[in-house]
């Protein structure tokens, strides 16, 4: 009896499942044809820079220079000035009740040993009004955050590329979508910058916590200093159904090797200073 009742339901489930799978497969196969926006400056390895260098080769060249700088023994100082534009008042409220502001600056000092590994570090997030939002520190094999007061075990680590994951994103983009990023150069305040842009439409509109309306596409640009190879700015644009755009985040990054931590910063590396 149960079998007789279930048979038509199971048949319908199987048919719908096959149709859904076929649709998903079709969509995946045709993804590279569906993701294009209206422009792509790089075709057949010919870029807007007017030469034949591939974007990946250009990025590899820049990364090589940057890594050489940031893996030297000593202190690496970074200052990230970040602005988010989302439909939330903040990026959430920390466990101590302090909101994570949409506009903030993070200063970090990474101490690199002779093996090129970070063995101690301090990061401080500042609100626009100069208040400290959170402090985190890593020393003697343990990591600590001021808002949770948890102390977690951590091994010395390789600082890697200070590019907000752009290298990984670009590799994923070219492999997955079979298209090259846009590539061009600009001169800003006397510095030659190499600009990469990844432009992608979501397979399906995304309803995220960050926006009140679905996001249809994402465009990420990264600006690298041609001389040092370091990323100096990156931005991610969200694209909505009607074509309007909002800058999800914009980050200006400063990397310096000559800014040493002051005593009040170093105190966070000592347990009694936390």
């Amino acid at each position: 009896m149960l079998h007789k009742r279930f048979s038509p339901i199971l048949t319908i489930i199987m048919i719908v499942s096959v149709l859904v799978l076929a649709y998903v497969q079709f969509y995946t196969v045709n993804a590279s044809e569906k993701i294009h926006f209206s422009y792509n400056n790089v075709t057949n390895g010919k870029s807007a820079l007017g030469n034949t260098i591939l974007p990946q080769d250009m990025l590899d060249r820049l990364n090589q220079k940057a890594i050489e700088l940031t893996s030297r023994p000593g202190w690496v100082y970074t200052k990230e000035t970040t602005v988010y534009d989302i439909d939330r008042e903040n990026n959430g409220v920390l466990p101590n009740g302090q909101p994570i502001p949409l506009s903030h600056t993070i200063e970090s000092w990474f101490h690199i040993n002779a093996d090129g590994l970070v063995f101690e570090s301090v990061s401080i997030m500042w609100a626009e009004n100069g208040d400290i939002v959170q402090v985190s520190a890593f020393a003697n094999g343990s990591a600590w955050n001021s808002t949770t007061s948890e102390i977690l075990h951590q091994e010395p680590f390789y600082l890697g590329l200070l590019d907000y994951g752009f290298t990984r994103d670009m590799q994923d983009y070219t492999e997955r979508l079979k298209v090259q990023p846009d590539l061009f150069n600009v001169v800003l305040e006397g510095k030659e910058l190499i600009v990469f842009t990844l432009n992608e439409r979501h397979d399906m509109p995304v309803n995220a916590l960050d926006y009140n309306e679905p996001v249809y596409g994402v465009r990420t640009s990264a600006y690298f200093d041609e001389e040092s190879g370091l990323l100096v700015e990156t931005e991610r644009i969200m694209i909505f159904e009607d074509g309007t755009e909002r800058k999800y985040f914009n980050i200006a990054l400063e990397v310096r090797l000559d800014v040493l931590p002051q005593d009040e910063t170093l105190k966070y590396l000592e347990e009694e200073g936390r």
């Binding site: 279930f6 920390l94 994570i100 990061s123 995304v206 995220a208 990156t234």
Partner: protein
Amino acid sequence: MATYIRARRLFIVGITILLAVLSFNVVAASETGGAVGGIFCRARKTINVGTYFWYAYVESIAVAPIGTIGYTWWTLREVCVPTGQITFQAQYSGSVRYGDDYFLDAANIYYRACSGQRKLMNMGTHDFKQGSDVWRPYLQEVKYK
């Protein structure tokens, strides 16, 4: 009719999970089991890691309808590992269904800016009640991206 509704719900959940698995690179889940009022229950938290955003969901499941099913609180957190800074946190409290056997809440979150590895956390306490019997397991799922 009840069997049909249950079969339909099972189908919808199955298709949702199937689509999630096909759409994301990595799926990870934490799960635990228990009982209230003699009814077997499961608590599950899952993180799917996508290219631009992560998808977290919390599920409370019972083998038969119970008095109250859901969570007492649910927290999503993103930490930038190299700096140790918490870049995103969302916290929700007290979401339940009454006289039901399934509860689901889910969220997509675009990644916050971070150079290096991100630690994605889906955590909180589930809520199962049947009569005077209560089971509130804390469960946490962590994924790195």
